[in-house]
Symmetry: C2
């Protein structure tokens, strides 16, 4: 039972309540796992911890399994329970957010693969400060997006949308810095490019956290805020 | 009416038939538009056609509008018609593939933005041959994936999965070539990096075409083949 989420226990059919709660529990467990995967991938890179880098890549199978199971559970609920109104929106939102969580898992695995390569080469390339900073921010974004989902919290979701705009700016600036490093010392081009891929993955993770937050707003408010500026969304939500 | 797709006209309710057909038509129109966007983005880059580059970025709004409308239509069908079996799988597959089409549109817009920048700088950087080659291949993949979707053609879908494996290999090789260009002539690092982003976008487009093909197999066969090797999928499908 989740006392913060009124959608999960308002049904006359107790079986429907149980199905939705089981789905929700699985979704939140997957979310927690994915958040941990991102944290571990960044740690593997910054601490040059090859064992952890391998573990993250291995654990991606678990993330993938969750994705499959969640989609199966969603299909069963749609086929048997014919959810309507906010129930239907929750199921649809979870179906979309499930894809985003799995993609975040993919990006974490990509970062871990690069981390493993850099561990084997040894040494610590430039651009790690930027990676640490942006990495911490996207971790918080994933956490906040999942929290907003669990508590149907539109304000929290808006916070994530604003954070994503920051990430995009910092990503641009970090990319420019890395470009300068490459021009200064072309011998390190290949390593710096790898750090660039890591930053790109982090930026993509921020986008996915944003997508999940957009689904929270859809679920609670019933309107689609994708392809809408944060300012417009804020106005719409406050109406 | 689509004579090749038996799902679209087998229902007792003619209203249900009409709803599904309208959805399918919209989905296929969006698919055609997205395919064109990718073709135009690559052309803008290779022909240094700034007008076309701007047009592709502008047209991305149309793609986004389709995404929203298709998801609305899907929600209405789920709420009113309670589809079951292959109808339900088709609606779910379209919901997932809709996201992939929109992301392909995003990647096309990204390529167009880079093309615009490179037009303004003038000159033709290295790596265009690789771009042309991989670009042509992913265009064919999108086309084949949509064709497989329209005709419920599992063999065609498998063909796309095999093509994606090729793209991934060619992308790796092209990336290595570009890295060599940068080391040979560090003055062009920033331009070559831009071509690298284009190749990355093309590789992502290939992944999305693969995702759509996986949804075709799910729709027709009823099993989830994501996170499964092409060899395993071929065995499963032939059983």
């Amino acid at each position: 039972m989740n006392p913060n989420n009124p959608v999960l226990n308002h049904h006359i059919s107790s079986q429907f309540n149980e199905d939705l709660q089981a789905l929700n529990t699985k979704f939140m467990t997957m979310g927690g796992l994915v958040e941990q995967q991102v944290a571990n991938a960044i740690r593997a890179l910054l601490d040059t911890d090859a064992t952890m880098a391998i573990d993250v890549q291995f654990q991606d199978n678990t993330v993938n399994r969750y994705e499959t199971e969640i989609d199966e559970a969603i299909t069963l609920i749609l086929a048997r329970r014919h959810p309507a109104a906010i129930d239907l929106r929750m199921v649809i939102a979870m179906s979309k957010a499930n894809t985003d969580l799995e993609r975040i898992g993919d990006e974490a695995a990509k970062i871990a693969r690069i981390a493993q390569g850099l561990c084997e080469e040894g040494g610590s390339p430039r651009g790690y400060m930027e990676t640490r900073h942006i990495g911490n921010q996207v971790r918080v974004m994933i956490h906040d997006a999942l929290d907003a989902f669990a508590r149907l919290d539109v304000d929290q979701a808006l916070k994530v949308l604003l954070a994503d705009a920051d990430i995009d700016r910092e990503y641009q600036s970090a990319t420019r810095t890395l470009m300068t490093y490459m021009m200064e010392d072309p011998r390190h081009i290949s390593r710096v490019i790898n750090v660039m891929w890591v930053l790109r993955s982090l930026e993509r993770i921020g986008d996915h956290a944003r997508n999940i937050s957009e689904q929270v707003i859809y679920m609670v408010k019933g309107f689609d805020v994708r392809h809408t500026s944060v300012e417009e969304i804020e106005q719409k939500v406050q109406r």
